[in-house]
Assembly symmetry: D3
Homo-oligomer: 249 residues x 6
């Protein structure tokens, strides 16, 4: 069930049977010579939208801009500062919590988001902790590649050249979903270098075409489809487990 | 051209021929018994995506959560506080400005966003004004219904019962784009009441089913298609005029 | 009744008979070759102070600095950033609300304030909306020229050359109240140009003497007096209507 | 010279001969049974406006709301939080600094403002210090009672019962300026108690009628006039000395 | 009792007998040619740690970075902006308040902290005052040199050349506690100049070696020991008095 | 070399030979029945202070309060909100960067700090990235247990019952450094449970004595000494490698 294509009374009815909502969250940032700028928000959106076709989960609109300051050296990247990101996640959570959602599950598509999303969770929990009260909501962050079996599948599909940015697995997922937007390029070197992540100027100097450790040329729509299928199943199961969790005390 | 389905080098190439980018911006909020929660961000997205098929404009990802605090009494609404909204718009603009975009055009789908978006523009301009320097970017806000001829068409289509929230014109646009998600309901009264907008509890007490002054039952996908067609044409022309503007001094 | 010339126990007594307070709010900014820098806060102050002589309304101190970033290219302008303005309005409202005022009426003298004041209202309401509770206070914004009949009178007085900044109507009001500070200048052109409002450098380049579309040379103290008289009557009536409003739910 | 009754070109001309501006700053807060709520902003305004009649100083609009959280237990008090106060002072200073003012002199009327104004100065200076550059402006804070000879005069006028809040000296100044608003009351006890300042509830419990250590019944308009006369002279001299200061390095 | 060397259950037990905690607070900043950079946080730490050996007081970890923007021209200085300092003090107080501490006593070692700490107290109290409720905690700030008899002793020890920064009294205290880190230098002039405090560049130009009005060469470990002994006694007594205070109302 | 026991001119001299500084950073939070509240800031402080005895590294004062909101259910815990933590790290970095430090190495003692510290780094880098300039400083975060060989040693020392909070390895380090503060308790169960980390109330319900997965009874001062020795060596090597890094581009 897609929240944005529902009416408020449909959501009211959903809340009768579940207090859990899934928020796809990602980033809009360069993904090398052939990766789509939207890759990191498209992947969790693709997976979550696919999952809700077979599972009774509610999927919120996609949080499509995240923490991508290091990619700002490449045109098309849009980034929030961590402080803005924390404030925005807070408002999303407060909004959903006001409606009675008690479990908010963020399906993440960007490694660079993880630290700030966790900080945002702590910021929200801290308000309750300072007042010695329970939090209104429970928050969970899951990267799509950490869903059951997904990373293992990607490693089997791409034993060499997977890397950590503009990976063939994420490129493959967008190829499967947007076949009319598959791009080609010569990669030089075939497998991109690795290194630390700092500010945008440093990043572009280290990673001239934007890739980190990856060979996106390995991606195919078929492999993408396999990943989506497995991730969607994993998501349904993981959301169910989260929804079933009881709170202590 | 859709930014999120492009690569960074395609955007780099676009910047050679234009420094203007269009950002669809809206809100995810209740739209009465039959309106989609996504209506206000879907409408500018639908129009902008349609426009870029025939015009050489670049469309950024949709800014899908806006200022909708007054709708929080209805499940599914997600709102930023104005202070968060201002910070987030600031980061979008700083990101796009860093790439060399000089004209940023926000195509808005939610009347409740207008004040805060204008405040955000002033916040950005103020940084330049305090330092007595030119702003790096020029910002423009346009509601889709204010594009050339669009509001007049809507008034002709819906001479009675257009109202101001969950209007038949916006419902019609989403019906045209998402025909499989057309909803039906009995409206009582047929035309919703009007009144002031305050906090969410007050809003729900005044407008029990979420509509303001409107009869969404008048919407049809065909009327939506007419509106999209006209608005897309208007958008291409308006963006061209904005891009052609010279700056004084 | 002027709050700042009252004692706390006089305010306590006033609260027994009314929960409504009027806050004149404006801006301190350039007003062309002959307009006073204080024009935009002086006008609502003049009107509200005049009104309280004949009506039992309580007038707070004047909020004299608003959002005037675009005028910072002209000496003497003082501006808050929107984020600061929102925070300050919040503290005023929280202060007055703590005393039991339930209706706070901002009589505004500066068009450039409107967006940010509305954003400030939304910021305040949002705190209640996220918590699903009623707001402690109801907020109203009214520009003095929108009081009953005032704008129509100004159009009759100045059918040509009224414009939108450094208008003869606002100049006339300050002339009536501060006759010893009437200034003269040659205007070239007689009626100033119009155009968009952006950062201060852009503004000064477009509007070299600070006026927008106006011919302040038309102002006279007599016309100012007529405007004040009418606006004061309108204010008393409008405040009474606001005070009498009941809240739904 | 009063900034708000001047035009921008008059300020431009003033800047040719001086880079110094005086900002009266105070608070709107309860002042005991007979003191005006505006006392703390009226006093520096009265003194500065009087001074500019005989000295060539430029007086900005009055910053009339300060840090008065402890007085919020009494109706009519309006307070900024320190964080808001710091932000607002910052914007005033940035505005004036943008015009070329290099020396900004705050004439303060409220002891409770001192800490936050100094913190605001440090916040402004810190921006320069982190960047190892000179500050654009030099800031000075002076309480009106610390002007040459003023406190000594007050001690001679009111050797007993001066106290620290709702003092006879400040009451006297407002009596001199607003003789039609002189209030009377029985004071019990004649001299109010003293004690620490904490939150508003604590304050009202300790100081039931709002006074701290004072007997405002001693105030007379004549004594107020003497204080204003002396303070105005002191202000002119102190501003001249400040304007003449050279900066090291 | 040192909080950081205790377990949580030991603190739980302490709370059974006392609701008061002492927080040493200072700054890490240059202290002239021979003063340790840590002087201003070491002094209150030394005194508080010494005091808790003989008195049953609980000493929190030292808040070691304060408001030292004016010293940033000298290497090794670390400063918070006032706005950050206020936020951090707020979080410390909210944390301690959550555990049931009702009296929080800040023993301060840096004059430059005073304004911002007081602003931080007001920020915390304001939250209660806006809501017309009692503050959960009572806050007290005391400079170590204002403890009973301490300043008088320092004046007797150093009748000439005490000054206000890098004073022989504070140097002496660190000499007593860290005898292996006593430094020597030629002072030129022997007694440093005095002057106003502004941004870092101004400060370094006025006070080339970092001292203000002082001759640190007068310090000896013995004198430091006398000061610590007296201050520790004063602290125990002052904390006891603070703990014994009852709240009105 | 300890910064706080040095003079500014000693730091100036150090900057001639190195631009790198080490900041021990941790948290003050409950550590189970026997762990010291200061454990997480004492460990990196102990290691860094030990390391600087044999290596020419500069150690800043310890950043002793971090992100510990989840431990606020236990007395003695002090936590910053992530937003405050980010602001404070920013000011530390800006201060050290102003002196010419180009490499800032945070030696961390608290897993719960990691996300927020990384968000703080991104916040700092983002300022440079938005402006398309190089960052003034390079930032590095290292947990002490991730120094070469340290975690492996801990696993050898405590093959069972190491856990993740109030671990025997961190307890052992504080035992080695503060032998007079070794505490004893019966642990029930001997090895604590594990589970997710949320707000403080949830945490205390899940982990009644504060431990997570650990048996601190295994700690001995000797094992602590071994860990410190190895970590100190690892720190010197790691700092040297960091200092030697060149920046690309």
């Amino acid at each position: 069930m897609l929240l944005h294509l529902s009416t408020w009374s449909e959501i009211e009815a959903f809340l009768e049977r579940s207090k859990t909502v899934v928020v796809p969250i990602g980033s809009n940032e360069q993904h090398g010579p052939t990766g789509l700028l939207g890759t990191d928000w498209l992947c969790p959106e693709i997976i979550a939208h696919h999952a809700q076709k077979s599972g009774d989960i509610l999927v919120a609109p996609t949080f499509n801009i995240g923490m991508a300051q290091h990619h700002l050296g490449f045109p098309g990247t849009i980034s929030l500062r961590p402080s803005t990101f924390i404030a925005a996640i807070g408002d999303w959570v407060r909004s959903l919590g006001a409606h009675g959602f008690e479990k908010i599950y963020f399906l993440n598509g960007h490694g660079g988001n993880v630290a700030t999303i966790e900080a945002a969770f702590s910021e929200l929990y801290a308000a309750a902790s300072f007042e010695k009260r329970k939090s209104r909501v429970v928050l969970k962050l899951k990267n799509w590649w950490d869903l059951a079996g997904v990373n293992a599948l990607a490693m089997r599909q791409f034993p060499v050249g997977h890397g950590s940015h503009a990976t063939p697995s994420e490129i493959a997922i967008t190829q499967w979903a947007y076949p009319e937007h598959i791009k080609a390029a010569n990669y030089a070197p075939q497998i991109a270098p690795t290194g630390p992540i700092r500010e945008a100027a440093d990043f572009r100097a280290r990673f001239p075409d934007g890739r980190m450790g990856s060979d996106p040329g390995l991606a195919t729509p078929e492999k993408g489809g396999e990943l989506v299928e497995l991730a969607a199943k994993g998501l349904i199961a993981d959301v169910a487990a989260f929804a079933a969790e009881t709170r202590p005390g």
